[in-house]
C-alpha cells in the first residue's frame, strides 16, 4: 500500500529538481532582461523605484525616529564635555564674523547701487522644502539617500539638496511622499562647479569614494589645495554659488575635493527649488529637465 506513493515520489524528484532549475535560470535571465530594460528605459525603472520607496517610506520614517533620538542624546552628552572650549571658540568666531558682517553690509549696499546703475536682472528667489533623511542604505556602491518628502510636498526631479554646510546632491527619483537623493559622491553624479579663487569652470565628478574628483578643467587652469569649490549654475539645474567643498589634494591622478557635508550626520536637509525648471521648459525645446548631461559618465 505504501510502496506506490513512495515510488511515485521518487519518480517525481528529478522532474521537480528540473523544474526548480528551470525556474531558477528563468529568474536569472529575467533579472538580466530587467537590467537591460533599466539601461534602455530609465524612466520606467524610476517609476518602479518611486513606488517601492513610497510604500516603504512610512515604515522607515517610524524606524528612524528612535535612532535619531538616541543619536541626539549621544551628541548632546558629547557636547557637554567640550562646552567650555566651544564657548571660547564661538566667542572668537563671533568677533571675526562681526567684522565680516560689517564688510558684507558695505559690499551689499555697494552692490545694490551698482546693480541699480546697470539695470541688472535679478535671479529668481528660491523656494525650500525641508525633509527628513529616512534612509541611508550605504554600502560600497549606493551613494543615495531617501527623503520623506516627494512630489506631493513640492519636491521635483533634478533639484539641489543642501544643508547649512553645503550641497549634498540632487533629487534623482521622486515619488509621491518620498524622494531619492543622488549624492555628489555617486558614480553618476556630474555637477557644474567653479573653482572660486580663479573662477575656473569645471565639472565635479563623483567616483564612489568619499572625495569626488574634478574633471574637464580648461588647459592651463591652476587649482591648489584649499581652494573653495561652489556650484556654477551652468546647465540650469542648480543655483550658482552653493558651497560644495574644498580641494583636498592635487596630484597626477587627479584633483580630489573634500565635501563640506558629512554624510553620517545628515538628519534634516533642504531641497532647493530654484524656479529654473519652468524657464528651461519654456525656452529650450526638448529641455525636459530630466536630461541635464549628468547621467553620462
Amino acid at each position: 500500500m505504501k510502496e506506490q506513493p513512495r515510488s511515485a515520489h521518487r519518480a517525481a524528484a528529478p522532474i521537480k529538481s528540473l523544474a526548480h532549475r528551470f525556474v531558477y535560470s528563468g529568474l536569472v535571465i529575467g533579472v538580466f532582461a530587467l537590467m537591460l530594460l533599466g539601461k534602455a528605459d530609465a524612466v520606467l525603472m524610476d517609476r518602479f523605484r518611486a513606488q517601492i520607496s513610497d510604500a516603504i517610506a512610512p515604515i522607515l520614517g517610524v524606524l528612524g525616529q528612535p535612532v535619531d533620538a538616541i543619536s541626539r542624546v549621544i551628541a548632546s552628552v558629547r557636547e557637554l564635555s567640550s562646552v567650555r572650549q566651544e564657548n571660547a571658540l564661538l566667542r572668537e568666531d563671533k568677533e571675526k564674523l562681526l567684522r565680516w558682517q560689517a564688510v558684507a553690509r558695505q559690499l551689499e549696499a555697494e552692490n545694490k547701487s551698482l546693480k541699480k546703475l546697470l539695470r541688472y536682472v535679478p535671479d529668481l528667489g528660491a523656494g525650500y522644502v525641508t525633509a527628513r533623511v529616512i534612509a541611508d542604505t550605504g554600502g560600497a556602491f549606493a551613494q543615495s539617500l531617501l527623503l520623506n518628502a516627494g512630489a506631493g510636498d513640492g519636491v521635483g526631479k533634478g533639484e539641489a539638496v543642501v544643508t547649512g554646510a553645503g550641497l549634498i546632491g540632487r533629487i534623482a527619483v521622486v515619488g509621491n511622499r518620498s524622494a531619492q537623493v543622488l549624492l555628489i559622491t555617486d558614480l553618476n553624479s556630474r555637477i557644474p562647479v567653479i573653482v572660486e579663487p580663479t573662477r575656473t569652470r569645471a565639472i565635479l565628478a563623483g567616483n564612489n569614494s568619499e572625495r569626488p574628483g574634478i574633471i574637464h578643467l580648461p588647459p592651463g587652469a591652476t587649482v591648489s589645495p584649499g581652494d573653495r569649490i561652489v556650484t556654477s549654475g551652468h546647465g540650469g539645474a542648480f543655483p550658482p554659488g552653493l558651497p560644495v567643498g574644498v580641494v583636498a589634494s592635487v596630484s597626477d591622478s587627479g584633483i580630489r575635493v573634500q565635501p563640506y557635508v558629512d554624510r553620517s550626520r545628515l538628519e534634516y536637509v533642504r531641497v532647493v527649488n530654484y524656479g529654473l525648471r519652468g524657464i528651461l521648459r519654456k525656452s529650450l525645446p526638448g529641455g525636459d529637465g530630466g536630461k541635464r548631461g549628468d547621467k553620462k559618465p
Binding site: 526548480h20 525556474v23 531558477y24 529568474l27 536569472v28 529575467g30 533579472v31 538580466f32 530587467l34 537590467m35 533599466g38 539601461k39 525603472m45 518602479f48 523605484r49 517601492i52 520607496s53 516603504i56 515604515i59 522607515l60 524606524l63 528612524g64 535612532v67 535619531d68 543619536s71 533623511v133 529616512i134 534612509a135 541611508d136 542604505t137 550605504g138 554600502g139 560600497a140 556602491f141 549606493a142 551613494q143 543615495s144 539617500l145 531617501l146 534623482a172 527619483v173 531619492q180 543622488l182 555617486d186 558614480l187 553618476n188 567616483n207 564612489n208 569614494s209 568619499e210 558629512d262 554624510r263 553620517s264 550626520r265 545628515l266 538628519e267 559618465p297
Partner: protein, 171 residues
C-alpha cells in the same frame, strides 16, 4: 477540523518567518544610524539571511523570494534595478548546489562558507556596477564592506540559529 486549520496556519506562519526576517533586514539596513563612516561599510545583511536559510531551510527561501529581496534592496539603495537581485540569485544558486557541504558542519565551516559567498557577492557586484556604468568603480569600498559583513556574520547567524531552533525546530 479547526485544530487542523490552526495547525496549518501556524506552520505556514513559521515557514514564512525567514522571508519576513530577510525583508525586514533589507529595511533595517537602510535606517540611517548617524555613525561616522558607517555608510561606507554597512554590512550586507540580506546576504546573511539568504545564505543562512538556503543552507538550513531551503524550502523557506525559494528563488522568487531571493529575487524580491534583491529588487527591494535595489530600489532602496539606488543601484541599477537588478544588480542586487542578480548577485543574490548567483549566491543562492551557488549555496543551493553546495548545500550538503555546509549542513551538519561546525560553525567555523559555516563562517568559512560565508566568507566565500561574500567574496563572490562583492566581486559580482563590482563587475555588474562597473559594466552597467561603463567605468571601473573603485574596488576598495567593496573590500571594506565585505570585511564588515564577514565580521558581523556570527552575531546575525547566532540570532538566525536561535530563531530556527525556536520556530522552525521540526524535521
Amino acid at each position: 477540523m479547526i485544530g487542523n486549520l490552526w495547525h496549518r496556519t501556524d506552520r505556514l506562519a513559521r515557514n514564512l518567518s525567514p522571508a519576513g526576517l530577510a525583508l525586514a533586514l533589507v529595511i533595517i539596513g537602510a535606517v540611517p544610524l548617524h555613525i561616522p563612516g558607517y555608510a561606507r561599510v554597512v554590512p550586507m545583511l540580506p546576504l546573511m539571511a539568504i545564505y543562512h536559510w538556503t543552507v538550513f531551510r531551503p524550502q523557506t527561501m525559494p528563488a522568487i523570494l531571493v529575487l524580491v529581496i534583491g529588487l527591494l534592496q535595489d530600489a532602496l539603495t539606488g543601484l541599477p534595478i537588478g544588480v542586487n537581485a542578480l548577485v543574490y540569485l548567483i549566491v543562492y544558486g551557488l549555496v543551493l548546489s553546495q548545500r550538503s557541504f555546509f549542513v551538519g558542519k561546525s560553525f567555523a565551516m559555516l563562517w568559512l562558507g560565508f566568507v566565500l559567498v561574500c567574496v563572490v557577492a562583492a566581486v559580482a557586484t563590482w563587475v555588474l556596477v562597473s559594466a552597467y556604468n561603463g567605468i571601473l568603480a573603485a574596488p576598495s569600498p567593496v573590500f571594506f564592506q565585505a570585511i564588515a559583513t564577514i565580521a558581523i556574520f556570527p552575531f546575525v547567524a547566532w540570532f538566525f540559529l536561535r530563531w530556527q531552533q525556536t520556530f522552525l525546530g521540526y524535521d
